[in-house]
Chain length 286, copies 2
């Protein structure tokens, strides 16, 4: 690493989280500013519009928790849709399952994919050339809208925080469209923001999904490079809450290939709603 390291910070609510390193790519795409920083301790790090998205060293905390609760509970061969996720981490986790036979990645910003393929080689790796993967550069909302009914077994929303072009992905209307294109036993998985740093949007996602699907559950776990470090993922289904139980035969081999996630960890994470959030939800329900 070169000696002229600089600090790059994400600033959020008058707190900041910074990494020291060298910028190896910086550009403005049609949608956002993209920075890739090379660091000693955390490997390569991706920042979009001033927000850390991922780091080589910590990304598994995020991607494993987004994918495995959903996919490990699907019994049969599966057709999956990922919205966002241009860094390739969610794709990689999905393709660990042999039963996944078709995977649509719908990312609005081609530049994120191009730069991730070039620089974040530890994240997507060989997944990019997997024949099951189909890359579509398109708006996620529009993609779902034009998809036929009962099409996917799982939809995974791996979006950045709400913004001009990502706002749609947090709307009740979008979730209703997702429900329509999911098969009967299909599962929706979405990152659902921090209950601490983004409480309002966290609760908005919770209630929008609760009003759309028969069963939802939120898990809380760690993402060291996101604001507050506390993150959440919400899972929804129109059948019983079977997405809380691992059903698939591949589960042992998946566990072996994970750095953070395991069945017990998941069971714990679904119980870790802080008391103050439990109270806010029970007040808002009335």
């Amino acid at each position: 690493m070169k000696k002229n390291k600089i600090w790059i910070d994400e600033i959020c609510n008058n707190s900041r989280y910074g990494l020291a390193g060298n910028i190896i790519a910086k550009c403005n795409s049609k949608y956002q500013e993209i920075i890739i920083l090379e660091t000693e301790e955390y490997g390569k790090a991706l920042m979009l519009d001033g927000c850390w998205m991922t780091t080589d060293q910590g990304e598994k905390y995020y991607h494993e928790c987004l994918v495995h609760p959903a996919l490990s509970s699907l019994k049969n061969s599966s057709k999956i849709l990922i919205i966002g996720g241009g860094d390739g981490g969610t794709v990689r986790e999905c393709l660990k399952y042999k039963k996944v036979n078709y995977l649509d990645l719908v990312e609005i910003d081609e530049e994120v994919i191009n730069l991730s393929k070039k620089y974040l080689t530890n994240i997507g790796g060989k997944s990019w050339s997997d024949k099951r993967l189909h890359i579509n550069i398109e708006d996620g909302f529009q993609w779902v809208k034009k998809t036929e009914d009962n099409y996917y077994d799982a939809i995974i929303i791996d979006s950045s925080d709400p913004s001009d072009f990502a706002n749609n992905l947090f709307s009740p209307k979008f979730y209703t469209e997702c429900k329509r294109v999911l098969k009967k036993h299909g599962i929706l998985a979405t990152q659902s923001e921090s209950p601490e740093s983004f409480k309002k949007i966290h609760l908005k996602i919770y209630f929008s999904l609760k009003n759309t699907f028969k069963n939802i559950a939120t898990m809380y776990s760690f993402v060291p490079f996101y604001p507050s470090g506390i993150w959440s993922w919400t899972f929804a289904s129109d059948t019983d809450d079977y997405f809380l139980k691992q059903k698939c035969e591949e589960i042992k081999s998946i566990e072996k290939n994970c750095e953070i996630w395991n069945s017990k960890f998941q069971e714990g994470a679904f119980k870790m709603m802080p008391s103050k959030i439990i109270r806010e939800i029970s007040i808002l329900k009335k």
Copy 2:
């Protein structure tokens, strides 16, 4: 708040976590540099030797997880020892229990207590004048060494990270002394650092306690202002692992008075050991 806000950062492994605010106290005690920052979003924040110790807004994530797993499982009236904890948060959580009838706080640095009483009034609050509390300005290791056998029902180690004057509090010798002064059904509770940012010391605490006590268990949860945001607390006892179950009658009223912790949250947190830590422990065991 005044307009001339400045950033104060804790730097750890080439990452930094900073808060913007105004310094309202700064001094060098006999042991360390103490800074108190006033912030808009996080209230007052305490920094010792460059490390964030506590913030008004986030401290409950830490203090509730340190105290309640231990104290909620104690059945009878109790004599408690806190080592460290000069900000008053651990004292406050302990004194929520009516059954606690005697509480020794042993803090090496009187200045931390003085400044906390003066500025961090939201943390210790009325606890400082509770008649059950006995403040002792002394080295924690020496205090335990001179204590008679079978004296305390619980020992709570609320120390800062290892340093010249805190190193002793992480040694097997210290844990052996703690075991001696604990009653038969006594419990030791200690913050046990981050499995992500301080993995070595985290594992050292784990194994030192495992080699000293019959039963230990580690819980993982969130502390937004500590490095990586992932923190751990380890509990040890020489009887069965009854500290994993709440037994005390006051539990419902304690839960009502907590912001983060509840029985279900605790149950989850004890399951959230990341796979990579499970693997390191199983390799080191051999």
